[in-house]
């Protein structure tokens, strides 16, 4: 019998430049760090899916022998490849570069898992990740030839299946923007109104925005938040238009974003100096709004500061758990992992000397 954890254990899946680590805790204060058998590939994302069993998915973006999605049913001790993995049809002329995100489907579709990759495309599995199919509606979008990559590539990194609307989903693509389908993926429309693209001649184009992360309000599904290359935004109408909620944040630029599912007006971001891609000034800071973006507060208690502090956080490297008060977890691109168990009020370093952290996801074992 493989490894198990008692219910209530918080499991952090930490994807890094060199493999996947699991951190576990019963009290969110003392943490156990464990390497998994997955120790070499670039893990851009990993997530533990508890909807039908307990399956850990991870992306293995190898430097030499290709990009693969893998899964483990024993918390990372052994890994399996899908029967039919993510590979473009030869006739498409496309080559898989990296797998960026794995997103479990809606609660009422426990066999369904989605994946986003570079070159920007959406993949779906309806058998818990055994076989994968390319979403043709997005792959054949009429504007596709005019899509251009961001610095990280032409990557589809955010997938939001609407739990209240079986045919509605949003995706975030750098540097294309936010797109929505209302018919189960047959057709996709751009939903980028009022989102800036300061690096283009026309600041408010239909598409071409560099969205960095997209999250949904858990109980009011038409409310979305996005951290963009050019600001932080909120939509109250399913993305039809966006409201700039930059307010008092010290920079528009940042990657990660997470929210508190019990208090969904509480959102966390880590904005950065755009040129240095690390903390603004000399204090590493997580920013929190508790009123849906009217005002942001700087959270620093327990986070490092000083002349040598230059920490960056990548797009998937911050998350929350589902406890109340929520845990917040932030991994840096220099291998530190900070955790808060009081909604961001205070922080502790729970791991150091990891490889550069690409992704952190949290699950409370059910």
């Amino acid at each position: 019998m493989g490894r198990t954890y008692v219910p209530g254990t918080v499991v952090l899946s930490v994807g890094t430049k060199r493999g996947l680590f699991l951190l576990t805790s019963r009290d969110r204060e003392k943490w156990e760090i464990r390497s998994t058998a997955f120790s070499t590939g670039r893990v851009y994302h990993a997530i533990l899916d508890q909807r039908a069993g307990c399956r850990l998915f991870a992306t293995d973006n190898g430097d030499i022998f290709g990009a693969f999605l893998r899964y483990s049913d024993d918390f990372g001790e052994t890994w399996h490849e899908p029967k039919q993995g993510i590979q473009f049809p030869e006739s498409s002329g496309q080559k898989l570069v990296n797998i960026w995100v794995i997103e479990p489907g809606r609660p009422d579709e426990p066999e369904t898992v989605y994946a986003g990759v570079d070159p920007a495309s959406l993949w779906v599995s309806n058998d818990r990740g055994e076989t994968w199919e390319l979403n043709a509606g997005l792959a054949n979008h009429p504007t596709r030839e005019r899509w251009g990559p961001g610095f990280g590539g032409l990557c589809l990194h955010s997938i939001v299946p609407d739990p209240s609307h079986a045919s509605r989903m949003w995706v975030g693509i750098s540097a294309v923007g936010c797109m929505r389908t209302d018919d189960g993926g047959r057709n996709w429309v751009f939903v980028n109104k009022n989102v800036r693209a300061d690096f283009l001649p026309m600041v408010y184009p239909e598409f071409g925005q560099c969205i960095h992360r997209l999250v949904q309000h858990p109980t009011r599904p038409d409310i979305l938040y996005q951290q963009n290359h050019c600001g932080v935004y909120k939509s109250t109408n399913a993305g039809d238009d966006w409201i700039d909620i930059q307010q008092n944040l010290p920079s528009r630029f940042g990657f990660p974003m997470a929210l508190d599912v019990h208090h969904p007006e509480t959102v966390f971001v880590v904005v950065e100096d755009q040129d240095g891609r690390n903390n603004v000034g000399e204090q590493f800071t997580v920013y929190r709004t508790q009123d849906g973006g009217e005002r942001w507060e700087a959270l620093t208690r327990g986070l490092p500061g000083g002349p040598g502090v230059r920490l960056g956080v990548l797009r998937h490297a911050m998350c929350t758990d589902t406890e109340d008060p929520c845990g917040v977890y932030v991994g840096t691109n220099t291998g530190q992992l900070f955790a808060s168990r009081d909604g961001g009020d205070s922080w502790q370093l729970i791991a150091d000397f990891l490889p550069p952290i690409y992704a952190v996801t949290a699950v409370v074992v059910g």
């Binding site: 070499t40 030499i64 290709g66 993995g85 049809p89 030869e90 496309q94 080559k95």
Partner: protein, 97 residues
């Protein structure tokens, strides 16, 4: 021509790929060209071709294949003919140093 008359060739793999071939270091396959050898490997070990080639069929940039000591990039690439009893090495190139 049936497979009994195809040239037989031994293919050696790096450690990173040995799990794909039953934790062996080499396998014996048949084919007239490198491309046919890779197709035969895919037949015997489904999924292995994607480690070596992109979906489009071209060799991955950091994968080197040596046939009897010669890098196939400087021969005829995947169309390089193989001889019976040949030795083929699949290696990762020196990248980053």
């Amino acid at each position: 021509m049936d497979s009994a008359t195809l040239p037989g060739i031994t293919v050696f793999f790096p450690g990173a790929l040995r799990a794909k071939i039953g934790n062996r270091s080499s396998v014996l396959v048949a084919g007239h060209t490198i491309r046919e050898v890779i197709n035969a490997l895919e037949h015997d070990f489904p999924g292995l071709r994607f480690n070596v080639c992109h979906e489009t069929g071209e060799l991955r940039p950091y994968v080197n294949i040596f046939l009897d000591g010669e890098n196939i990039r400087y021969l005829q690439g995947l169309d390089t003919p193989v001889r019976n009893g040949g030795r083929l090495y699949v290696l990762q190139s020196v990248a980053g140093g």
